[in-house]
């Protein structure tokens, strides 16, 4: 355990070495939120309007929920894994008595803590400025479901990200492309970062809910909003757990196969 505590510490220190980069990344996040905020405020300019079961308070809560959940789920250091493999720097970690997955999960965790810290500050600034009518969940049951689904979301994203990065074992040049495709297109879009997925046609929603993607962003927020309770919530949690198990096993297999072809290049 101490190993990973130290990994956490050094990773945290490392993040601070690139302050400017980090700030730019946060600025991007804030801009994205502002765009969403103004978009939905305009749509709901008519007070009392309800679209797809969302009134102004709920859609704004959704938007701010995305800010926080995204900061937690999508902020990851493991995006560097692809580069590490293709440059042969993986060698350094392979030589050490440390679990590769836990190492990167820890580094992700440090990145998440940092991002969450900033997200809280940003919200503290944006909140009084925008004065959004936000829905505060008080039901402990929904909050518990939210905490569980959020944890699953974090692990699910980590697993998907690792598997994507492992493509580099076989195709050293496509690492970034694969990541872009999976993270930006599939995860961001299908996860519900840009709009709540329940505005999509019912058939599409049904299909989507059997994929792992909605469980990254959309599902946890729905649980928070109290839109999914009881059976709907638990079955969602079950499906996402199922995906987590399947993808973990698969990712581990890919990792083992990848090591067989790893060439420890880079000199």
């Amino acid at each position: 355990m101490r190993k990973y505590l130290n990994v956490f510490k050094i990773s945290f220190a490392q993040e601070f070495a690139y302050r400017l980069n980090f700030i730019m990344w946060r600025v991007r996040n804030v801009l994205q939120i502002l765009v969403l905020f103004f978009l939905w405020t305009t749509v709901f300019s008519d007070q009392g309007r309800v679209i797809f079961g969302y009134d102004k308070a709920k859609i704004l809560t959704y938007v701010f929920g995305v800010l926080i959940v995204r900061a937690l789920v999508f902020s990851a250091r493991a995006v560097d894994v692809a580069g590490e493999i293709s440059k042969g720097d993986l060698t350094i970690l392979l030589l050490k008595p440390i679990n590769y997955f836990r190492y990167w999960l820890t580094r992700d965790f440090s990145s998440k803590v940092l991002n969450l810290g900033f997200a809280v500050v940003e919200i503290a600034i944006l909140f009084p400025l925008l004065k959004p009518a936000i829905f505060l969940q008080t039901n402990g049951y929904s909050l518990l479901g939210f905490a569980i689904s959020l944890t699953i979301a974090v692990l699910l994203f980590f697993t998907i990200l690792m598997a994507t990065n492992f493509v580099t074992f076989w195709a050293p040049q496509v690492g970034w492309g694969a990541q872009f495709f999976v993270i930006v297109v599939m995860s961001d879009f299908l996860a519900g970062s840009l709009f709540p997925l329940d505005i999509l046609p019912a058939v599409v929603q049904k299909v989507l809910l059997f994929t792992p993607f909605p469980y990254l962003i959309f599902f946890p927020i729905q649980v928070y909003l109290g839109k999914l309770t009881g059976m709907a919530m638990w079955s969602g949690i079950a499906i996402s757990l199922f995906w987590l198990a399947v993808l973990s096993i698969l990712t581990n297999k890919i990792w083992r196969r990848g090591l067989l072809v790893y060439r420890a290049e880079g000199r």
Partner: protein, 332 residues
Amino acid sequence: MEKTILVDHLVKNFEVTEKTPGLMGAFSTLFSPKKKVIHALKDISLSVGKGELVGFIGPNGAGKTTTLKILSGLLFPTAGVTQVLGFDPWERRTDFLKKISLVMGQKNQLWWDLPAIDTFELNRAIYEIPTRVYKESLDELVTLLDIGKLLNIQVRRLSLGQRMRLELVAALLHQPEILFLDEPTIGLDLVAQEKMRNFIYEYNRKHQATILLTSHNMDDLMDLARRVIVIDKGRIIFDGILEELVARFAKEKIIKVSLSKEDDLKKFDTIGKVKRVAFPEIVLSVPRTTVAVAASEILQNFPVEDLTIEEVAIEDIIRKVFRGEAPLRKRR
């Protein structure tokens, strides 16, 4: 002697996709990749005892680094058996990893944006080094390598030589029993090289550590390695003590002649290969088998003041080995 490293009929093949140059070429490889198998190691067998310091030499691409990488568990061997400290390296067991270290001259484990001491602390946690051992280890390494002032400086601000020494510390904090060094002095200036060599020698002596090193630096081998293993094209072509290498590979001897007065130097060409003429001294290289005949011929036909017969210098032999010109005589 206790065997620390055992390698038996080790084979390693790499499959690579051939790239044809140009845009069209890139397209055609995308759809019909041409696979090619590279035989990096063909049939390697060797064993190393505890505390030995062995130098791996051979031309580029001979398979030296590949061997080290297999021994440290990075590469999966195609065939054959490898055993290091009783472990199969490929399994990368915690107990195994805690006892070895691989240092590559061009691969850095120090965190670039942080001071080296941070990486050391991280390694202390990862290798679960007890505080007392860590302090001892660090103190010793800091003194030996003279890096006390560098510990708290961001790694990116250090020179290559300073960085290499710190890399070495990071690799040795856990006091490995086996040390694989891949080109440990590459890119270092002469003073830094000397420091590095002294240190490796000391570490080997003090900790009874088994050390395998590859190097293109002649001095590394001359100063450090008693035993050398010559690898060429994936095969071991020599394994023995350094002096024996000369006897094995030197097909020629050197005759040095001092003349008492000038003579027609062209005539020397018929006797042997003239390597250097700096009147009154002439240096010839002559096949071993005919060296006696050549010497008497010189004595009869030239005004000789002095004549000596010498072995080819070890440096010259090693240089030939690096160029891949080592004459392939059968192993014992």
